[in-house]
Every structure is written in structure tokens, then in C-alpha cells.
């Protein structure tokens, strides 16, 4: 009875979301639409990142690397042979990549699959080590990818990057993928696999002693997360239409880390709320970079203040509100309806 009601409510809210997007795409200005696109892409990245960090408890720092792979692969596939020929001015592109051409959706999926494959290979050295080493190895992986994209010129065009990528990403693509990835990952979390992931997070030795193949479970989380991060990278590339190695610095990972910490490590719905807050909030916070006129005072703007505030925010949350918005809990319709009823009684 409740189950049926809840899935109806979920479907209704997804429909409502897409009605809103339909309205937004017709009436919002391009800036707001761009921010909505950013939110969707970062949501996808953050939710996937939280699967490995928050749910499985494997603290890793690789999303910038995965995003880069997805972005490069899918962009190289949607660019036409003529475009690639004109762009690769230092060294011509290696065959057969130079003539391969795929439609957008196929390119995104291939981008995701290649990223997943890299994740699969990376998992072998990465999951031999536990805990802290993982963080540093995955951080190093992001760096290696960046060095590679600067130097493997016949594949990536080096520091010149790729330009003139088709602006295919729109609200439907970005939110479609965001909702899809959220559903897939939530379903994964709410299953035996998800339970095993959480068990590994809480106590890996005990999980192994209960018959869990911890390597395989971590692998599932890692590869799933890599796939969606790769697709998100592709969406990002087709949103901003130009990519180069500087786009995928550790800074990207830092942003995602803030999002999942604010939302609550391990909480997918928390991550969704936090993405909206952080992406939108970071645009709102631009005011601190500029002179402010509060009543009759003028506070001189300090460009760069925003970044300082974000760093402080991260530390303060960890020190005083470690649970973030949702802790490890998830939003549930039951909880929400109870909350409403409770409010009404008051």
C-alpha cells in the first residue's frame, strides 16, 4: 500500500521536475539555464562519487581523471573528421580515431564505457591498498591523466585541447542522465550489493568474514561510479564546447568533495540537495568577490574571497556538522509525509 503510494509520488515528482524543465527552457534566461545544466552534471558526478566515497567508504580522489576521460572520448567521437583534421595542428591524430564519428548519445555511452574500463583496470592496484593510500594513489591517477592529456598529443591534441565541440547538451540531456544515474545508483544502494558496500564501509574485515568478496563489491561501486562520471564528463564537454587538460584539475574533485560532505557522506538524496546548494550558492557567493553596499557601508570586494569561504566552509562542516545535511539517511516519502502531518498538528 505504502510502497505503491511512494512509487507514485516518486514518478509524480519526476514528472513535475520535467514539467519545470520544460517551463524553464522556454522562459528562463540563458544564464539560469546554464546553472541548471551545471547542477544536473555536478549532481551526476557527486552522486557517483558518493557511491564510492560515502556508501562504500573508500576515500578516493579520482573524479577529475574519470571526468577527463569521458569528456575526451565522447568529444573526439562527436567531432567530425574534418574538424579533427583542422584542429590537430601539432601532430595529426592517430588512425583510426581521426575518422571515427558517432552521434551524441552513442558517444556519451562509449565515453562512459571507456571510463568504466579504465576504472576496472585501475581498481587492481588501487584496491590492493586500503584507506589512506587509496586517496593518494587516486589523487596521483588524476595527475597522471592530466599529464597524459598534455603529452599524448596525437590523441588529445595536447595543451591545445579540443575546440568547437557541438553544444548538444541541453536541459533534457543533462537532467535525463542525472535522473537516470540517480535511479540506477539508488537501486544499487538499496539492494544486497548496496548492503555489502555499506558493510565494507563499516568494517571491511567483518564483511569479508561474512562471505563478501570485498574486491568485487568495491569494483562494482568503482566501475559504476566511473561510468557515470565519464558520461557526465561528456555532457560537460558538450556544454562548454571546449576542453583542455586544465579543465580537469584537482579543483574539480575538491568541489565534488564539498558537495558530498555538505550532503552527508553516504546519502544520495543529501547529495542532490547539496549539489543544488553548492552550485547555486557558489554563484550567489560571487557577491563576496565584489564591492558590497550594505545600507550605507561599502565593503571593498576581495576577488578570491569565495574560494577562502569554501575552504573554511569545508573545515567547519567537518568540525561541527560532520553529518552534513542528511547524514547517512535518505529522504523517504514516509518520513516526509510524517513530517508534514506533524507540522499540521502543530
Amino acid at each position: 500500500m505504502n510502497k505503491k503510494r511512494n512509487s507514485l509520488l516518486t514518478i509524480a515528482s519526476i514528472v513535475a521536475l520535467f514539467l519545470f524543465l520544460w517551463y524553464a527552457s522556454a522562459h528562463f534566461n540563458k544564464y539560469s539555464i546554464r546553472i541548471l545544466n551545471d547542477i544536473a552534471i555536478f549532481m551526476m558526478l557527486a552522486v557517483s562519487y558518493n557511491l564510492i566515497n560515502g556508501v562504500t567508504g573508500q576515500f578516493s580522489l579520482e573524479p577529475n581523471g574519470f571526468t577527463a576521460i569521458g569528456a575526451y572520448v565522447s568529444s573526439l567521437l562527436t567531432l567530425t573528421a574534418a574538424q579533427k583534421h583542422a584542429m590537430f595542428i601539432i601532430v595529426p591524430m592517430i588512425h583510426p580515431l581521426d575518422t571515427l564519428h558517432l552521434p551524441f548519445l552513442a558517444a556519451l555511452i562509449v565515453g562512459g564505457l571507456v571510463t568504466a574500463l579504465v576504472g576496472f583496470i585501475l581498481a587492481f592496484p588501487v584496491f590492493r591498498v586500503r584507506g589512506d593510500y587509496l586517496a593518494i594513489v587516486t589523487l596521483g591517477f588524476g595527475l597522471v591523466i592530466r599529464v597524459f592529456s598534455n603529452n599524448a598529443i596525437s590523441v588529445t591534441n595536447g595543451p591545445l585541447g579540443l575546440k568547437g565541440i557541438g553544444a548538444y547538451t541541453n536541459l533534457w540531456w543533462s537532467w535525463g542522465w542525472a535522473v537516470f544515474s540517480l535511479i540506477v545508483i539508488m537501486r544499487l544502494v538499496n539492494s544486497g550489493y548496496g548492503r555489502a558496500m555499506k558493510a565494507i564501509r563499516d568494517d571491511e574485515d567483518a564483511a569479508i568474514a561474512m562471505g563478501i568478496n570485498s574486491f568485487k563489491i568495491k569494483m562494482i561501486a568503482f566501475v559504476t561510479s566511473a561510468f557515470f562520471e565519464g558520461v557526465a564528463g561528456g555532457l560537460l564537454a558538450h556544454l562548454i564546447t571546449t576542453i583542455s587538460p586544465t579543465l580537469f584539475t584537482f579543483f574539480l574533485t575538491f568541489n565534488l568533495l564539498i558537495i558530498i560532505v555538505v550532503g552527508g557522506l553516504g546519502s544520495m538524496t543529501g547529495t542532490v540537495i547539496a549539489t543544488v546548494m553548492v552550485v547555486w550558492g557558489s554563484e550567489l557567493l560571487r557577491v563576496v568577490d565584489q564591492p558590497m553596499h550594505l545600507f550605507s557601508f561599502t565593503i571593498p570586494g576581495v576577488p578570491g574571497m569565495r574560494m577562502i569561504l569554501f575552504s573554511v566552509l569545508l573545515i567547519v562542516i567537518m568540525l561541527f556538522a560532520r553529518e552534513g545535511i542528511m547524514g547517512q539517511k535518505e529522504f523517504s516519502w514516509n518520513g516526509f509525509l510524517n513530517f508534514l502531518r506533524h507540522r499540521k498538528q502543530k
Binding site: N29, K30, Y31, S32, R34, I35, D38, I89, I90, V147, N150, N151, G158, P159, L160, G161, K163, G164, A167, L236, L239, I240, T241, T242, I243, S244, P245, T246, L247, T249, F251, I273, M277, G281, E283, L284, L285, R286, V287, V288, D289, Q290, P291, M292, H293, L294, G301, P303, G304, R306, M307, I317, A321, E323, G324, I325
Partner: protein, 375 residues
């Protein structure tokens, strides 16, 4: 949930603060500025901004006394942030024109937005040919990579009489890769030979291995189109290890820090540049340099001068357009002809300036003017 409530409160306060700040300037003409003020290339954005601020104090109003209000947004040297900032300026702040960004890659992520929205965008320092190629609303005030590479090759071949050159490229900068490519092309065409082609990455500090490579080939000259930090450190180590050849560089060398860090090792280093503060040819340039020195106690870098020129070109165009209409302003920008800017006399053709380059050289711990190369 308590935490959430508190955070929302803070955000709401900030939102109102933002509204308060944006509503108090109704009559000003708004021009957006997108620069990297934080992040890995912050130093360039900060230099540009210094120049723009001096320029704004020289010419604070347009259209007979309306204040020209600059809205600076930080792009952190990041493409996503640049795209966001440019669309924010255009669609939210409704600016009449955009100045920015610095790195060509960043400018290219904002350019399609401005192009589509028919908003003029003037970049002070993006030298990649692709930035303006095929665009109607994107212009710049700096010369482009092919020109600069060619000028360097000419100078090295004709004035330094070099016949062999080693080229050191910063593989993390499209700027460096571009310059090197056009230098090599021009140098070979003149009959020169490239011996030893080696690579560095931005942020590298140890160049002993690259020095060994260069040393082994005994070139007449070293062409190293990278930014000043790597140049200065390279020069120090090169001299220490007995490499005596002249180093030729691009406009990335133009920053006081090159001499401060490089010390004696950069003596004799020559480079192509946009302007020379001591040989400022225009009255505006002279005024700018004087004011800049008074405020910052140092000579303006090329970045600062280009920032100022971007400002002046936009302000001048607004006056000529006689309105805040973006399309009219863009027409005026693109029709800039013989404008006496800080870095010289600027004429824009399809958004790219036709202007001369100067060769500068480090002598006795100072940048000195060597010659001017006309296009």
C-alpha cells in the same frame, strides 16, 4: 536539519546583500570583466586587473558623463566558471560588453555564449588564432601567435644571426605550443635549422635534464616561448651549467618577476612584446605608465597594458556607438581604426589587431627597448 536552516539563513542574507549591491547603479553603463583572480593562472588575471583599474581611473565615464561600471567576476582559470561568468554577465547583469578572459582556452569557452547572445567580447591577452576565427562578436587587443612566432624567428635570424636554434616548449600551455610551432615554421623557411626540441611543463622547477639536451646540440640560440617563472629558473640553471647562448622568448616573459627571479642569468634575454613602457608611443600610453608607476611603484607589464587597452577600446567604442546597444557597440569595436592605445596604434581587422610588436631585452637588470617590428 538545524544546520540546513542556518545555512539557508546565511544564503538568504547573502542573496539580499547581492540584490542591494546590484540595484544601486541604475544609470551606469555596465561592462563585465572575466579574469582568473584565483587558481593557477591568477597572476595574469591580477596583472590585467591592475591595468584595467588604472585605465578606469583615467577614463571613468562614457557617453557624456555616465559612469562606466565594471563588474569583475573571477573564473578561477577554469572553463566551466568562465562559461558561467560570461552568461551571468550577459543574462543577469545585462552588461553592454565583456572584457576577458586571459588564457585562450578559457576565452573559447565563454566566446560561443557571447557570440550567440550578440554581445561584444574583447579579450586582452588570448593570442590563439581560433579565439576570433569565424566569430562576429569576439575581438582582441593583442597580436596573435603566428605573428609573434614569425617576428621572433625574423629577429633571431636577421639581428642575432642565428642559424641553428633549440626550442623548449611548455607542454602545458597552448600558448607556448602555438608560438613554438609558428617560430619553427618561419625559422625553417628562412633557412634556419632546429636542433634539439625539448619540453617542460608549467610549474617545473628543475631543468637540468633539458639543459643537458640543449648543451649536446650547441645551438646558436635558444627559443623558449614560456611564461616568466619557468624562463627565469631555466636561465639561472642554464647559466650555472655553462650554457651561454642567447635566450629568445615571447610576451610571456614580460613581468618584473622575470628579472627579480632570474637576476644576472636573464641578462641579454630577448623577447617579443606588445609594448615597452619606456617607449610608449601614444599620449595615452605615457599617461597610463605614469599613473601606473605612481600607484604600484613598478613598470606595467604587457598584461596590465593589454588589460588597459581592452578597457580603452571598449570605452572608446561605446562613445562612438553613442548608445549602450550591444550590437552597435560591437560594430564600433570592430571598426576601431588607428586608435591610439597604450600598446600602440590599434586597428582591428576581423577582430584581430594589426599592430606592431616590439623586441625587448634585459639589460642591467631592466627591460630595454631594442626595436619595433611592424606587421
Amino acid at each position: 536539519m538545524r544546520f540546513f536552516g542556518r545555512l539557508m539563513f546565511v544564503l538568504t542574507v547573502l542573496l539580499f546583500a547581492g540584490l542591494a549591491s546590484s540595484s544601486s547603479f541604475a544609470k551606469a553603463v555596465k561592462v563585465g570583466v572575466v579574469l582568473p583572480m584565483t587558481g593557477p593562472i591568477a597572476s595574469f588575471g591580477q596583472s590585467d586587473w591592475k591595468g584595467i583599474k588604472i585605465a578606469a581611473s583615467l577614463k571613468p565615464t562614457v557617453l557624456n558623463g555616465r559612469k562606466l561600471k565594471l563588474i569583475l567576476l573571477d573564473n578561477k582559470g577554469d572553463k566551466v566558471e568562465t562559461a558561467n561568468a560570461v552568461s551571468r554577465l550577459i543574462f543577469k547583469n545585462k552588461v553592454s560588453a565583456v572584457i576577458g578572459a586571459v588564457a585562450s582556452g578559457n576565452t573559447l569557452s565563454g566566446a560561443p555564449i557571447a557570440e550567440k547572445a550578440h554581445v561584444p567580447m574583447v579579450t586582452p591577452a588570448s593570442t590563439n588564432p581560433l579565439v576570433t576565427k569565424g566569430k562576429k562578436f569576439i575581438s582582441r587587443v593583442c597580436f596573435i601567435d603566428p605573428f609573434q612566432g614569425k617576428v621572433a624567428a625574423k629577429y633571431v635570424y636577421n639581428n642575432l644571426h642565428a642559424r641553428t636554434a633549440a626550442v623548449i616548449v611548455d607542454m602545458a600551455q597552448d600558448y607556448s605550443v602555438g608560438l613554438a610551432r609558428f617560430f619553427i615554421k618561419a625559422f625553417k623557411k628562412m633557412g634556419g635549422k632546429i636542433v634539439g626540441n625539448t619540453f617542460i611543463q608549467t610549474g617545473d622547477q628543475d631543468f637540468s635534464a633539458q639543459i643537458a639536451v640543449v648543451k649536446a646540440h650547441h645551438p646558436d640560440v635558444i627559443y623558449m616561448p614560456t611564461y616568466y617563472q619557468e624562463l627565469a629558473l631555466f636561465a639561472r640553471q642554464a647559466r650555472q651549467f655553462g650554457l651561454k647562448q642567447t635566450i629568445m622568448a615571447g610576451d610571456g616573459a614580460s613581468e618584473e618577476a622575470l628579472i627579480k627571479v632570474g637576476g644576472k642569468a636573464v641578462e641579454g634575454l630577448s623577447f617579443t612584446n606588445h609594448f615597452d613602457p619606456k617607449a610608449a608611443v601614444t599620449p595615452l600610453g605615457k599617461k597610463f605608465v605614469k599613473l601606473y608607476r605612481a600607484k604600484y611603484h613598478e613598470d606595467p607589464s604587457a598584461m596590465a597594458a593589454l588589460g588597459a587597452d581592452a578597457y580603452f577600446v571598449v570605452a572608446n567604442a561605446i562613445n562612438r556607438a553613442g548608445s549602450t546597444n550591444r550590437i552597435k557597440i560591437n560594430k564600433a569595436i570592430r571598426a576601431t581604426k588607428g586608435f591610439k592605445g597604450v600598446t600602440g596604434i590599434i586597428t582591428l581587422v576581423n577582430g584581430d589587431p594589426v599592430k606592431s610588436a616590439v623586441i625587448q631585452k634585459v639589460k642591467d637588470g631592466k627591460f630595454v627597448y631594442v626595436t619595433t617590428v611592424n606587421p
